[in-house]
Amino acid sequence: MKPKSKYDLWKFREASPSGTIKKMVLAILVLAGCISIFRLFNWWFKAEHVASLPLFLILTFIFWWGIVRMVILWVSYLQISKPEKKEALQNLSVAIFTTSSPGEPLSMFEKTLAACARITYPHTTYLLDDTKDPRFREVAEEHGAVWLELIGISGAKAGKINAALKQTREDFILVLDPDHIPFPNFFDEVLGFFNDEKVGYVQVSQAYYNQYKSFTAKGAAEQTYGFYGPTQMGMHGRNCAVAIGANCTFRRKALDSIDGHGIGLAEDLITAIRIHAAGWKSIYTPVIVSRGLVPEDLGSFCKQQLKWARGVHEVLFAEVPRLWKKLSLWQRLSYLTIGTYYFSGVTMVLFLLIPYFFFLFGWLPANMDFVEFLLNWLPVGLFGLIIYLYVQQWTCHPEKERGLHWRGMILKFACWPVFFRGFILSLKDADIPYIPTAKQAAKGFTIFARPLIFHLVLFLITVASVLIQRIYFTPEAKLSLTSGDIWGMVAFAAIAFLMVVGGIYAAWQSQKIKQEDPWMNVDLNKIETKKIITEI
């Protein structure tokens, strides 16, 4: 099974085109979903539901925060579109920038640079190197790449890119993460879009090849399937597709117009918003023309998420207000939605606290009848689920990427402390603290699992104290009349608890990942670039 599915990954893939009938079905689902939401809204806001006004407001906020985001996503799906491929002009001058930093494995660069050399459209590959390791130069030159030594430049990757821009002249620059192995037809799929002089950058899908290695890797990859399929395609339809760092090809003029690549924790997003604000068009093309690595252990995953959470908030607080007037309506909405994605750290904390507030202080946020809630919520949940599954036909590799993505959900939930931390850090405008990398922390759980363990202990203590309370102290005359409420609340707390158990499992399993370099198994000769017709 494994080898087959592994090689399956090394084929060129693309999402299906939108299609009128498909879009009409989607529109029906979205409209019916919106009517259901309206009905839920109508029911939710009743005076008799308010048990305690502040708590009710908090609950309302948590609940409707998620729903509003969902509606925005639904509406953006209505604009799903796949740009029509155009033949690239001949003789464009094209560069690939990939960066190497101290500590990164040399063998990975061997693979990546070899793959770059196989890209058929004529181009120059540049290795932006600050390892001070002579072997990197050796490897670069072996694969026909130009080695640029860029030591002591601030601004991390983006800083190096800007320095390299000054030393080079190519009109189009692909920024390639060094863990990504490009397919030979990469530029054939991308460069044609630049025939339109207004196009500032072309982003392709970001796909991975090491999902098989762990629960975390699978979950992390699952979280991206929808984004690189229907979500970005919808954003493309409104000219607000974002650049994601890796695999984005820029027009030099576009980068020049914003004084070079943006610098920051979410440097790609900063660059994208600035290019949009400068009036350039963006293209998202849902094709798989490279595969890279997704974090394998929970520690690295959380670290990446923390970095993004902090970076995305940076964009929200610094870039969005500054560029507000220059953005289109959908660009504003899109950057606001992305910018507040990690705000779910806050809503999740509040969600988690509801049962504990009840057990500790007897606070109940709402006087809602459970069955009534269920009947009002179910249509919304059902349409949400149907739409979620329906738009998966626009994922880049549907056979592999369809599904409920429960691992991704668990992982997202397990990351609430990370999101929360990121949010607090950006409120305080503080830097991300130093966190040892996975290798250094190989023994034992990642520190990111600590809040999860705390949550687990809190849950167990709560259940134990409820039991003791019920067995020894609750008056007999009260027992059966309060039983439903109490155990209902315990069940509610148990949902979050199960997610936490999933997160702790991911952390535990992260310690057992087989130490192997996934790129060593990749056979560049087996990459297939011919069109696969997935549609029936």
Binding site: I28, Y472, A477, L481, T482, G484, W487
Partner: protein, 387 residues
């Protein structure tokens, strides 16, 4: 032009299908509401039962242990319908989450109360079903539930129980409608749930049916024969379904002398109950009535029916007389003067706003003089009449 038509029709198709889809779901939701509510209730009851089994065991002294003597009555319909003693009971309004208020009353009276009363109305709302959880809770505490079942007909889902266009009020002629099977589905479901409770329970349907001013099942909207027909019909439905654990209490108002016209007959009634509430002088329409004044005449007539009798609401307010004396006089004479009375249910409502815009406090738990009088009076009852 063609394009416009195409786009418009696509637009309309989308809207039409979306609405159809939504309505379909709404319809399914509507249909599943009942079953879902039943399911939720079953889970609730199941959890309570399971917890009781796991938790309520022998960790603490159970109330039911001190009511052990009552088991032979409450588990046997014949024994409870032919009582050889007087059962005491109470209604308390503060029982949303717990029957501790009943326990407090018991503590202040230094006795245990075998009957716990509750009120529930007819209707389509989810709380207007047989109160299984409460009945079970009362049973688990060692008592017998007494359910006062009020046939308000205005809470029914009008789609299922359409209002007769000619009548301006669904309650007008309501008893006739009940007798003519309109509400059979509701009655049958209620009876089936009651049957599932298994143990005997008191059921007081449509009380004070002869009061011309108060309840819609009274003379303002119904004739006595219609009330009787409704009563008999309901009892027949229960019998048909096999809910034989219901003990039928017929409960008229003693002040309106027409009560005999409303009696459904010996075959349809197990107990006869009457309220004895002394409002004192709190209202223009009220005056201080002693228990004798309220009850004597009624008793003289009705005790001849040869049914055990119950004071289903027993209490006095404070204003206008001597509350302690009221209780003392009533209880001292009760077992001797009114031998047919086999149950007294204290009306311990601390927040009664059903008869006036004012709120009355009938509760006696904290009135030490009253409770010690009651204690003393009951202690003086013959061994024969009390347990």
């Amino acid at each position: 032009m063609k394009k416009v038509i195409k786009r418009t029709s696509a637009f309309l198709i989308v809207i039409a299908f979306a609405i159809i889809l939504f309505i379909l779901l709404l319809f399914i939701g509507d249909k599943s509401k009942g079953p879902l509510e039943n399911f939720a209730r079953a889970v609730d009851n199941g959890v309570a039962k399971f917890e009781k089994k796991m938790v309520g065991g022998n960790t603490r002294e159970a109330r039911s242990a001190s009511l052990k003597w009552f088991d032979r009555y409450r588990n046997n319909k014949v024994r409870i319908n032919y009582p050889d003693t007087i059962f005491l009971g109470a209604y308390d309004n503060n029982t949303a989450e717990s029957y501790e208020s009943i326990v407090s009353l018991e503590d202040s009276l230094k006795l245990k109360l075998p009957i716990i009363q509750l009120y529930t109305a007819w209707g389509s709302k989810k709380e207007q079903v047989f109160p299984l959880l409460r009945a079970q809770a009362i049973y688990d505490l060692g008592s017998i539930p007494m359910i006062t079942w009020e046939p308000w007909l205005n809470d029914f889902d009008v789609q299922k129980y359409p209002v007769n266009a000619a009548a301006d009020n669904v309650n007008r002629g309501g008893m006739k409608a009940i007798a003519r099977v309109k509400y059979d589905e509701y009655i049958d479901t209620w009876a089936a749930d009651a049957k599932d409770f298994h143990a005997p329970f008191f059921l007081r349907f449509g009380h004070e049916m002869n009061d011309p001013y108060r309840y819609p099942w009274g003379p303002q909207y119904n004739k006595p024969e219609d009330y009787i027909a409704a009563w008999k019909h309901i009892v027949d439905r229960f019998r048909k379904i096999g809910a034989d654990n219901a003990i039928w209490i017929w409960s008229p108002h003693p002040a309106y002398k027409t009560y005999e016209q409303y009696y459904p007959g010996n075959n349809y009634v197990d107990w006869i109950a009457v309220g004895a509430l002394n409002y004192g002088t709190v209202e223009t329409w009220s005056k201080w009535w002693s228990f004798d004044e309220t009850f004597k005449e009624f008793y003289a007539k009705i005790s001849t029916y040869d049914k055990p009798m119950m004071i289903s609401e027993f209490g006095s307010l404070e204003v206008g007389g001597d509350r302690v004396k009221w209780y003392k006089d009533a209880l001292d004479s009760l077992p001797y003067k009114y031998k047919a009375v086999k149950a007294v249910v204290f009306y311990n409502n601390s927040n009664d706003n059903t008869t006036s815009y004012k709120t009355f406090d009938w509760s006696i738990t904290k009135d030490q003089q009253v409770t010690s009088t009651i204690k003393k009076s009951i202690a003086n009852w013959d061994k024969k009449v009390k347990k």
